[in-house]
Amino acid sequence: MVDIVNIRAHAKDLLEKGTVKMVLGYQRGTAGVLAEPAFITDAGQADHLVWDPTCVQNLALYLVNEKKAQSHQRDPDTRPIAIIAKGCDSRAVAVLLQERHFERKDVHVIGVSCGTLGVVDKNKLSKALNGRVATKVEPHGTDSFKVTTAEGFVDVAAADVLADRCLECACAYPAMHDVVFGEKHEDRGYPARFTALGQLEAKSEDERWAYWEGHFNRCLRCYACRSVCPMCYCPECVVDSIELMVDPTTSADEKANRIKWIERSAVASENSMYHLVRAIHLAGRCIDCAECERVCPVDIPIRMLNNKLEKEAKDMFGYEPGLDPELPSLVASFRDDDPNSFIR
């Protein structure tokens, strides 16, 4: 069990000693039951930190944002940032390290183990509560949550309300950390990894296209998936053809000749392209925090696209993202015995 008191004490200590400039964590939200990101810079505020199954966000995103912000500061504070990271989040940090986004010394990982649980899916929770509004979710034993509502306490089976990714999670314990709270559980008793994906793969080609066409058709191209993704940190996305990044090195030709790989219009073909390019660019990098799917306003199962390539990479190339920051990335490496039989 993770005791928030210990996390707060650790955060306070870090801030008091000034070894980090900020602790990225969670605090009680103001809109609904989900916790919200907290940016604690003052030791006195460390008591605002919370840790419970509503801490869904992948805070690694804010490490990325902080680095971007730093690059514009004249005299940036280069002390490390502490981040509260679940298993998946710590893998995101590992991928960012692998991509040299920052160095290991720049980040202090406060790992938290999800134990046998994980984080809740807000929609599943509403459904399980039959319209009652949750105000607090706490772990209860190893397989259920104690949910506080206006009408009192309800005990909900974890399997009913856990986020899809948590149900299949293989990294509930943060492998990479400077300090860790909570213990490791080998067998969590949930479906194996890629179970949901397997069901989708089992459909026929036509069914799969009908499925995806239906979803892609609805895409608004709001790019929320991209904005929330810690790996989508490119200065300019290759699918963008509207925003023109201009700096002193941009040549006149570059300004004149923008490649429009994808049109901005939210039509099925362009939406498909957007999601395909995004999936390919996340191959070997996506650590399945599923934030993209969570923030999608039209419920596109984006996670499945990323899952597909994660599975192929694992099965065919023995590659798992976020395990070792020193390894070359999936597509920047190969093995002599990579599959070859698909080639004529």
């Binding site: 991509e99 986004h101 490119c234 200065p235 090195t249 004149a256 490649i259 790989w261 070359p328």
Partner: protein
């Protein structure tokens, strides 16, 4: 600047293109493409008037980009880039649209071929309009060459190079120079003794200060590029110091191990410590670690005990040399197609069925029988000998498809030598046809028939088997139309030549291509016969294809001449079409650094990718790996590909 004054030149290539592609229509339609201000067709663009017309058009119309729609760029890209330069246009503003090999020659429907030619040409126009004007990058040259293989080809190439003043590293896998030529007895068509003409050259190599000879050595790694290769050579442990060895032969007398002597094609035995030939260079005994009792003085150690010169040291380790060279000549030679593959001729089971090289050893004065032709099985003089040509060659279904080229001649020679050794014997040759092209070759074959009574039987041998101490040869004489049975005392197979066993590995290490038969591939079958497809690597001898000694020597000298030409320059020009980083987009993720096959990319202190242009070969692996479109190869940028895809689809 995007080129906006493009010229298009469509070549008829006589009727090669014009017969299937409506070249006039291509010229007219291309003239209407955006940015094209000049367009014409002409019967032979590469002819002198054709080239002149391109120059004139560039100058008259102030063209800032040209597309030549013609044959493959491997043929005339250079021609037309030179033409552009002459006209004052940067050569990198010229692109070739291949509408011959990739269009006119492979399609027969005129409309379809024309449609495709239009797409190919438009694609090239779109590309050239975004080509940058570039200047080649100058790279210093290492004025030193490596020759791989110490047979006659490698020896000749090394001597030519050294005599031209270049330092040479000659790498030979065996413990001695000489290759297969040193095994031969006499050579056609003049019947001079092979060792007599080869050993002076071998000595010349050993005496030449410019040549560093590494025997028992193999190339394990090659990096770098034309003008600046880095080669790792691994040399087996030299247990006998060639400097100290006095060739006294005491060691072989005490060595308890006997193994078949591969230099005698297994007809004799040798010790674990041995000298391949009396003429071996380096002139030294060798310890074969595979057959030696273990290099352990406790187990044996007899040879070291008797060696007065104290030349033997069991503790020597293999050595790795790192050589910087500007060019490499590959002369890895041939091996015979294995007897064991010849099911119809006994699969190597019969002692008296020999391959050609074994017969050479029988005829050779230094060979197994001291120069007497005797049957290996019972050491009797064979009175009837059957020679079978095309054994394993010209048989695409079962063996090698190609003609091994030298077998007709060496079989004629074998029959003749046999007759000289056994005057009362009879030689029969089964042949398909006789290929005796070459100076004095046909006369040589005739002499064998007329003076030495060689009987030529036109037909194939269906079966060879042992019976009552004889080798029964069942064949057919297609000229007489009858079957033939000969009770022979010995059968000699003229087995096909194939690339030596190490050739595949060498090709892989050097990244040079091989042809369908496994021989090293030349850059062009007619015009660049001694160059490999990789710049700075040249080919010589039978590794490139079956050939006889004079031809091998020719090619070796030609390869040497090419190397001399290459290394005569102060510096080489490196293609400027290299990767270029768009700093604004680079995040320093290092993926390109990991993916670059040449280690040409590194991260700068500022965390951005930096391309070492001299090392970059412009392959574009980085381009496809970068997720951020932050790295592009010049003149084949993503924007250009984007436009080319559009043009190729016809959109």
């Amino acid at each position: 600047m995007t080129a906006r004054r493009t010229g298009v030149f469509v070549c008829h290539c006589g009727t090669n293109i014009a017969a299937t592609v409506d070249v006039k229509r291509v010229a007219v339609e291309m003239g209407q493409e955006e940015g094209v201000v000049f367009s014409k067709d002409y019967v032979y663009m590469c002819s002198d008037p054709g080239q002149s017309s391109v120059i004139k058009a560039i100058q008259d119309n102030q063209l800032d980009g040209v597309v030549i729609s013609c044959c493959t760029p491997t043929l005339h890209e250079k021609t037309f880039r030179d033409v552009s330069t002459e006209a004052g246009l940067n050569p990198f503003r010229c692109e070739i649209a291949n509408i011959r090999e990739q269009c006119a020659w492979v399609h027969s429907n005129r409309d379809e071929a024309t449609e495709k030619a239009l797409k190919i040409t438009t694609s090239a126009i779109r590309r050239v309009q975004n080509n940058e004007a570039l200047t080649p990058i100058g790279v210093p040259v290492t004025r030193r060459a490596m020759v791989i293989g110490g047979g006659i080809a490698g020896i000749q190439a090394s001597l030519d190079l050294a005599n031209a003043g270049l330092d040479v590293v000659l790498v030979e896998k065996q413990p001695t120079l000489g290759g297969h030529m040193l095994q031969l007895s006499e050579t056609f068509p003049t019947l001079d003794c092979s060792q007599c003409i080869l050993s002076p050259k071998m000595v010349e190599v050993s005496k030449n200060k410019k040549i560093k000879l590494l025997t028992d050595a193999e190339v394990t790694e090659v990096s770098g590029f034309v003008g600046n290769f880095k080669v790792k050579v691994k040399q087996k442990a030299q247990y006998v110091d060639p400097e100290l060895c006095k060739l006294c032969d005491d060691c072989t007398h005490v060595c308890p191990v006997v193994v078949p002597n591969e230099y005698d094609q297994g007809l004799t035995g040798r010790r674990a410590i041995f000298i391949p030939y009396a003429q071996a260079i380096p002139a030294s005994f060798n310890l074969d670690e595979k057959s030696c009792l273990g290099l352990n003085p406790v187990v044996c150690g007899k040879c070291a005990d008797v060696c007065e010169a104290q030349a033997i040291n069991y503790d020597v380790k293999p050595k790795t040399y790192e050589e910087d060279v500007g060019a490499i000549v590959v002369a890895t030679g041939f091996d015979l197609y294995g007897l064991e593959n010849m099911g119809e001729y006994g699969m190597g089971k019969y002692e008296d069925v020999l391959d050609g090289l074994a017969f050479e050893r029988l005829c050779s004065a230094s060979g197994a029988t001291g120069g007497h032709v005797l049957r290996p099985s019972d050491h009797k003089e064979p009175k009837e000998v059957v020679f079978i040509q095309c054994a394993g060659s010209r048989d695409p279904e079962n063996h090698c498809a190609y003609c091994s080229k030298i077998c007709c001649m060496y079989t004629a020679k074998h029959a003749m030598l046999y007759k000289h050794h056994v005057p009362d014997g009879q030689a029969y040759i089964f042949y398909i046809d006789i290929r005796s092209g070459g100076k004095g070759y046909e006369e040589f074959v005739q002499r064998g028939m007329e003076k030495d009574g060689t009987v030529y039987l036109r037909g194939r041998v269906s079966k060879v088997f042992e019976k009552d101490g004889k080798i029964k040869v069942m064949g057919v004489d297609t000229l007489a139309g009858r079957t033939i049975e000969i009770d022979a005392d010995m059968v000699v197979l003229a087995l096909a030549m194939q690339p030596s066993k190490g050739t595949a590995d060498v090709a892989k290490t050097l990244k040079i291509g091989r042809d369908k038969d496994g021989f090293l591939a030349e850059a062009h079958p007619k015009l660049r016969p001694v160059e490999s497809v990789t710049a700075g690597i040249f080919l010589a001898g039978a590794a490139q294809g079956p050939k006889d000694i004079p031809e091998t020597v020719c090619q070796a000298s030609a390869a040497a001449a090419k190397v001399i030409q290459l290394l005569s320059k102060e510096q080489l020009e490196h293609s400027p079409a290299v990767a270029n980083v768009r700093l604004s987009h680079c995040t320093g993720c290092e993926m390109c650094v990991d993916a670059c096959p040449y280690e040409a990319i590194s991260l700068t202190g500022g965390g951005k990718a930096y391309v070492n242009e001299v090392l970059c070969e412009g392959c574009g692996t980085c381009q496809a790996t970068c997720l951020r479109a932050a790295i592009d190869v010049k003149n084949i940028t993503q924007l250009q590909i984007f436009d080319m895809i559009n043009a190729s689809i016809g959109g």
